[in-house]
Amino acid sequence: MASPCEVLSRAGRTVAREQLRAVAEEAWRIEEKFSRYRTGNVVDRINTAQGTPVDVDPETADLLDFAAELHRLSDGRFDITSGVLREVWTFDGSDRLPTAREVGRVLGRVGWDKATWVRPRLTLAPGMQIDLGGIGKEYAVDRAALLAAALDSAPCLINFGGDLMAVGETNHVPWQVGIEAVGPNGGNPARHIALARGALATSGDARRFLLRDGVRYSHILDPRSGWPVTGAPRSVTVAADTCTQAGMLSTLAMLMGGEAEAFLARQGVRYWCMR
């Protein structure tokens, strides 16, 4: 997960320990299974298949179904095959932009439409790769939350590096969540959110960027063009029923660039954008 994970539980001490164990084991299990940095797991097998079909287990199939649906719903903006673009884009704060030709070449290996997915068989074109980083963490939060909720009905908050899910009884003193202030002179004051039930996920523009001729290129790439999205907010936090939904909405908002707020407003969800 590459971030600190915690469980806050209002259950009794013994049960809380069980919840923590269940959450931790689930987090580690999902990380081992879906991380693109591990050799031998299903993602690695898919990414080294070199064009040959790969049969996947039901959980992986569910994730691929989800990714496919989101690819359709987002009009191609969300694409788990876009990871290979990191071969030409290194967001290290320098001014080294790739050329249109370099991007064009890699773009040939990007596109869910170039993959063939018929459950349970996935066939990628040679050179293509999948990266489940865009949904993995939020999915893990939701899975972990379900396990914790099954052990006790007392309020419980799962927090994987800022992606939160609150489960259990709703009639309690809500969890106090803060979105950090940004900028001097109260440009973006800190926000207090009372979370009684449900999820909060944040997509952010971290320290990864490129700067050339005074133009900042954020690390959020549009897989349809291979180039960075322009005008994205600094961070987007969305409240939704599950962390998967909140994460997807905040990710898509960032991908909408300057239209982030308009997009979220149209969805009728509670959101906080910082620019």
């Binding site: 989800f66 649906e69 359709r72 999915y139 109260g186 979370l195 939904q245 509670r270």
Partner: protein, 443 residues
């Protein structure tokens, strides 16, 4: 590329429903429980209790200060301030110590008070309670501007203040160089006990209010400010402000007097109160200040972050048309202590030159247009040294305690001394202790 299908593009209402369905499928659940998340409607409350005490039975002040702020959606902020002040003790009246007993008529004209030889005359008339209220509304105006408007009001038994202020800030340079403009206007009403004394009128016997102006006096103040802040780098901020303040109307202190002295010896001029009544035993005159004052100030501040510690340094230069020049140098260093605490030593140095019409005493026969012996218009240096300790409680609230020592040291220029007057005895001196206890919490 980017062709869209009306019903499925991430802009239609169907998107959220389809996302929900896809999620339920993924997680193997039938439906989701609706989220319950809302922005806290918080009132952030800051409270502070102040004790201010001067040595030698001079002024003591106890005050309670409250600041309440509420943040609304869209970055709008409403804040209210309340101050309750209780002042006791005595303040120098402007008269100088003499080698004889002195008697003064109180400003009300109803009574006298006496001062021993060699003692600095203090007037304790203004035991007073003051209430002050402020209200401010701040909100963004478009993407780059923030505007604010505020009201201020205060009242004590002989003084009322009402004011209005505006501010606008524009962000330049992606919030790295905000520029601010501010304006404030105020109308103060002074209702001195017994009525405002006519300029340089002699202090009369009990019951004699002949040299007083009936009714109330007015004072108008206009303030203008322009300031720019510059973010230098991740750890350094600098602010520069220029401000102009123009006061007009009744600028006197109605209770301050000057001792009339013999031009050769510098001693007081004896006076006999009318028979059957009591009054001053020496000659005194009420002060007179111009009815106009224009001040210019230049203020520069820097904040520097050094791995957890924050250094705050500022300098203010003030000059006005009363010929007062002042410099204020201030430095604070905030030093983290453990997880939740911090200490902040504080040092302040202040120096001012005298007003053009300042004089410790008035030679008999001389009647200038303006004259005041108020020590606050005299030349002096002042030091403040203090330490503050603050910490965040387990529930996330802020508490603090601050102890400071303030010392004023003046030196009357030889040219203003008359006869055998001793500069040391006449020079302003003040020792005070400042203690504040503060607590901030959310409602």
């Amino acid at each position: 590329m980017g062709a869209t299908d009306g019903g499925r593009e991430p802009g239609s209402g169907q998107f959220v429903q389809r996302l929900a369905a896809a999620t339920c499928s993924l997680l193997g659940i039938g439906s989701t429980v609706p989220v319950l998340a809302q922005e806290e409607p918080t009132w952030a409350l800051d409270t502070s209790f102040l004790y201010y005490g001067e040595s030698d039975e001079r002024v003591q002040d106890l005050s309670l200060n409250v600041l309440a702020r509420r943040l609304f959606a869209d970055d709008k902020v409403l804040s209210f301030g309340l101050v309750y002040d209780s002042l006791t003790g005595a303040s120098p009246s402007g008269a100088i110590p003499l080698n004889e007993v002195q008697t003064f008529t109180r400003p009300s004209g109803n009574d006298v008070y006496t001062v021993q030889p060699g003692e600095l005359p203090l007037d304790d008339t203004f035991l007073d309670t003051r209430y002050a209220l402020t209200a401010t509304w701040q909100q963004p105006l478009g993407r780059l501007y923030t505007g604010s408007v505020g009201l201020s009001f205060s009242t004590e038994y002989d003084y009322t203040h009402a004011g209005l202020n505006f501010g606008i800030t524009r962000d330049f340079n992606t919030r790295n160089t905000p520029l601010s403009l501010g304006a404030a206007i105020a109308r103060d009403e002074i209702d001195p006990e017994g009525g405002a004394p006519l300029p340089l009128a002699p202090m009369g016997n009990i019951g004699d209010l002949s040299a007083r102006r009936p009714g109330t006096e007015d004072k108008d103040v206009v303030d203008l400010l322009i300031g720019v802040t510059q973010v230098v780098n991740e750890h350094l901020l600098v602010q520069v402000n220029y401000s102009l303040s123009d006061s007009s109307g009744y600028l006197n202190d109605p209770y301050k007097i000057l001792t009339v002295v013999d031009p050769a010896t510098g001693e007081g001029i004896a006076r006999v109160p009318a028979p059957g009544t009591a009054g001053p035993l020496h000659e005194y005159r009420f002060e007179s200040r111009p009815d106009q004052r224009t001040k210019h100030s230049l203020f520069v501040q820097g904040k520097y972050y050094m791995g957890g510690k924050v250094l705050d340094v500022s300098w203010r230069y003030m000059t006005d048309d009363w010929e007062i020049d002042s410099h204020t140098l201030e430095a604070k260093l905030r030093w983290p202590l453990g997880d939740r605490g911090w200490v902040e030593p504080h040092l302040r140095f202040y120096t001012q030159t005298e007003a053009e019409f300042y004089r410790p005493s008035l030679p008999v026969g001389e009647l200038p247009e303006f004259a005041s012996a108020d020590y606050r218009l005299a030349p002096f240096d002042a030091w403040t040294a203090g330490l503050k300790y603050g910490f965040r409680t387990a529930s996330g609230n802020e508490a603090g305690i601050r102890l400071e020592y303030y010392r004023q040291d003046g030196s009357v220029p030889d040219g203003l001394l008359i006869g055998n007057q001793d500069g040391d005895a006449l020079s302003p001196e003040l020792d005070a202790v400042i203690l504040t206890v503060s607590y901030g919490f959310d409602l």
